[in-house]
């Protein structure tokens, strides 16, 4: 306080009469707010992904730790730069198909939903695009079919959820069962071999030393990032997931947008179906098994809020890469799938716990505390 200002608080016993009023001069106000501004570091929650950025740094830390574990357990391999480069490519290639699915999943979850049917959609699209009839139209026809099947199944999900008012969990769970059933009946439970060299080359080829699948992942991630952060579609997604009522009252068509989100997820599944078919040079009804779990887990680890309204594409990508790295780590150490799954489970739980501690609002904390004492 400046000396010109009487400090009426000095003696609380005596009621202070405002004999000399307007005590505060504007200069002082300015000082106070400057002070406020200079207090503390630039905060982690500053807008425009600042929060996500910090969290992503954490994920990169996790990734670094995994690499250190790899280097410690297999020093001979990690000593060879050629092997390391190839291993990085192997990890990225491993991450590519689930990564594409996860981008779509991230949108759905940020938009306040969940899509349990992604694995089934990948299988259905894969099977549909490798039927003899479809293959007769060539690679273009196959790609077109996979994408259209993905989008259409996604649209069915979307319509059921936004206009039929089904809970997303139920609607997509039903779709999971139905789509796999349809895939099985189309393929007659057979493995359908892809005879298109164009399709089969996608997974087999590299361009400038990098597998095409990794380029596809990169393109989808980039597109996802741009759409989420730079377009009205992305903005609507965050609004619809963060506070649907506020979005509705702001004039956003919440239902139509929700529907489109599932279609987008379906589109990603269609792309993934082509990638996976290419990798296996065939498709079958059981392919992409449990992809929904991998995609959801990666998104959550990447910091996407399960309740919607918040998440980043980069975080999801890091989540997928972390999982792929773990798989890779276990593979090079010759450890079992079972041990690997246990570690993955642990990581998922840890990620969700961290999320809960970070996003609890004061009121929720209060309510929770009270409830805890009650029981």
């Amino acid at each position: 306080m400046s000396d010109a200002t009487p400090t009426p608080t000095a003696t609380p016993e005596r009621p202070q009469l405002p004999a000399q009023s307007p005590p505060v001069d504007p200069a002082e106000t300015a000082v106070a707010s400057d002070k406020a501004r200079s207090t503390g570091k630039l905060s982690w929650w500053r807008g425009d992904g600042g929060d996500g950025a910090k969290r992503n740094l954490g994920l990169i830390g996790v990734l670094a730790a995994l690499i250190v574990v790899g280097a410690v357990t297999k020093p001979d391999l990690y000593g060879d730069p050629n092997w390391v480069w190839n291993n990085v490519l192997a990890i990225l290639q491993l991450a590519s198909v689930v990564g594409v699915v996860t981008v779509g999943m991230t949108f759905v979850i940020i938009g306040g939903g969940i899509d349990l049917s992604v694995g089934a959609i990948v299988a259905l699209a894969g099977v549909w695009c490798t039927t003899v009839a479809t293959q007769s139209y060539g690679a273009g026809g196959m790609i077109f079919t996979a994408l259209v099947v993905g989008i259409c199944v996604g649209l069915v999900n979307g319509v059921l959820i936004s206009y039929g008012r089904l809970v997303p969990f139920i609607a997509t769970l039903a779709m999971l069962v139905a789509a796999r059933g349809l895939a099985a009946s189309i393929s007659n439970k057979q493995t359908q071999v892809s005879s298109s060299t164009f399709i089969n080359d996608i997974a087999a080829r590299k361009v400038i030393g990098i597998p095409i699948l990794v380029y596809i992942l990169g393109a989808v991630v980039l597109a996802g990032w741009v759409v989420l952060n730079r377009t009205t579609f992305g903005r609507r997604t965050i609004a619809v997931g963060g506070n649907p009522e506020a979005a509705r009252l702001a004039g956003i068509n919440v239902r139509r947008h929700t529907m489109l989100l599932y279609a987008l997820s379906g589109l990603c599944c269609g792309i993934a179906a082509i990638m996976l078919t290419s990798q296996a040079t065939s498709a079958q009804a059981a392919m992409a098994n449990l992809y929904e779990l991998d995609a959801i887990a990666a998104a959550i680890i990447g910091g996407t809020l399960l309740s919607g309204g918040r998440g980043t594409i980069v975080g999801s990508l890091l989540g997928v890469i972390i999982f792929a790295t773990i798989t890779n780590l276990f593979a090079i150490n010759g450890l079992s799938i079972e041990a690997q799954n246990m570690v993955k489970g642990g990581i998922i739980v840890a990620a969700v716990l961290v999320q809960q501690f970070q996003f609890k609002s004061v009121t929720r904390l209060l309510a929770r505390n009270r409830v805890t004492t009650a029981t």
Binding site: P15, A32, G40, G47, I238, L249, G309, V362, T363, A367
Partner: protein, 540 residues
Amino acid sequence: MSEEETVALPEDDPATASAEAVAEAPLVEAPADTVAGEVVLRLTDVVKTFPGVRALDGVQLEVRAGEVHCLLGQNGAGKSTLIKVLAGVHQPDSGLVEWRGEPATFTNPQAAMKAGIATIYQELDLVEDLSVAENAFLGHEYRSFGFVRRGRMARHTRQILSRLGHGEIPPGRMVRSLPAAGKQIVSMARALSHEARLIIMDEPSAVLAHDEVGNLFRIIRELTAQGIAVIYISHRLEEIREIGDRVTVLKDGRTTAANLPARDTPTRDLVSRMTGRTIEYVFPDRPADDAAGADLLQVQGLTREGEFADVSLNVRAGEIVGIAGLVGSGRSELLETIYGARLPEAGTVRMDGKVLRPGVGAAVRAGMGMAPEERKSQALLLGEPIYRNVTLATFGRYARLGFTNAAKERAEADRIAETLELRPRDVDRPVRTLSGGNQQKVVVGRWLLGGTKLLLLDEPTRGVDVGARAELYQVIRALAAQGVGVLLVSSEVPEVLGLADRVLVMREGRVVREAAAGELDENTVLDLVMAGSLMEGAPA
């Protein structure tokens, strides 16, 4: 005071007939050793910082038993932060809190509650999917042998509610289904269900209508008569004059005046200590009466069962129409129905002579915008930056080919932040970190960006301080001067009369009077509005 006459006395209320049954649980029991006039709470140099903000920067406060101690300060001055420190929600960085003569630290809300501090928070903190009674007694349920004594809880809750003048709220009702004002009553009931020595009320009257404020004051007087201390926060100076004993003023997180007498301190002194300047608290001048243009909005026979019936009204371009009425008179529902957020059972809404298709989308395309009543649940994305909240309804307009234009959005938000005195001014902050009044400015500011033909404002100044309020009135009037029509709902009759050109009075879902604002005065409007509440209060 007129509200005392209109309040139904608790003895008349059938719900209190069972008073003996809950005799072991009186409304609020003052602890036996309460001494009136004794200093119960003293704060010295309390400091609390958040990342990037010094919310409290040396606060002094002294509260005595049996007094109503008012906290005054602009939006963002630190009032809510201060009471959260007292309630154990936040821990101070430094400074001394003395509770009944002993230094105290409340590490969590339960600790403060145990010590006898009950709090009504500014933002509702109810569990939506529990019943009214469960919310009121959350954390301190009546129990025996591990079972919750639901009957006793329900009885006690009903008793508290009827003392609050709301015996009609069933204790078993889910909180989710209550309107905003009902929820406020429940959080008051929660605070009153504790055995407290100090009850803190953070803007309890912001959502309440005139008569309810009367009920609240009656309760506060009962409390203080028992030696319970009350800390009362409000931006309405008249209330502080009426109920307050002493006033402490905060500015930028510091105490700029302590223990002023609430009744005699001149308003300009209070205002200048709060704001550092003098504010002429006046409504902008009305333009010459032929200023309004053609009919913009025409509502014909609009009806929704149980909410409002057969409402017809019109708003002309450049005209501000105010709706006065009690909470529960159907005002907010009417606004939401006009806006397409609720489907009418009968009647039509026309914009520019064309019947609107149902749905918010059509209304927005036709040029309507609505600032809803409840900012947190209906309007804000709390985790998103301020600028994105300001442009939530308009970001599409600044976008090109589907790509958003964040720079333009920031600039627009900055402009609004400037006019409405948003603090802090930084539009990249998440809305979550704003004070309540500043959040409200974001909600209203969203529709002031221009491009809207008809504004529907539901309690636009809820929780907004005197200074910013005057600015807001100016902005609204300026928009009207540009030909925007405004339909305004407010619980504050002076606001409706001062700002609007024409006033509709609603009671029990019907328009009972329509007149130019100049033809009505506050008492006439209150009489019209209250007539309904008296009828409701009569035994069925």
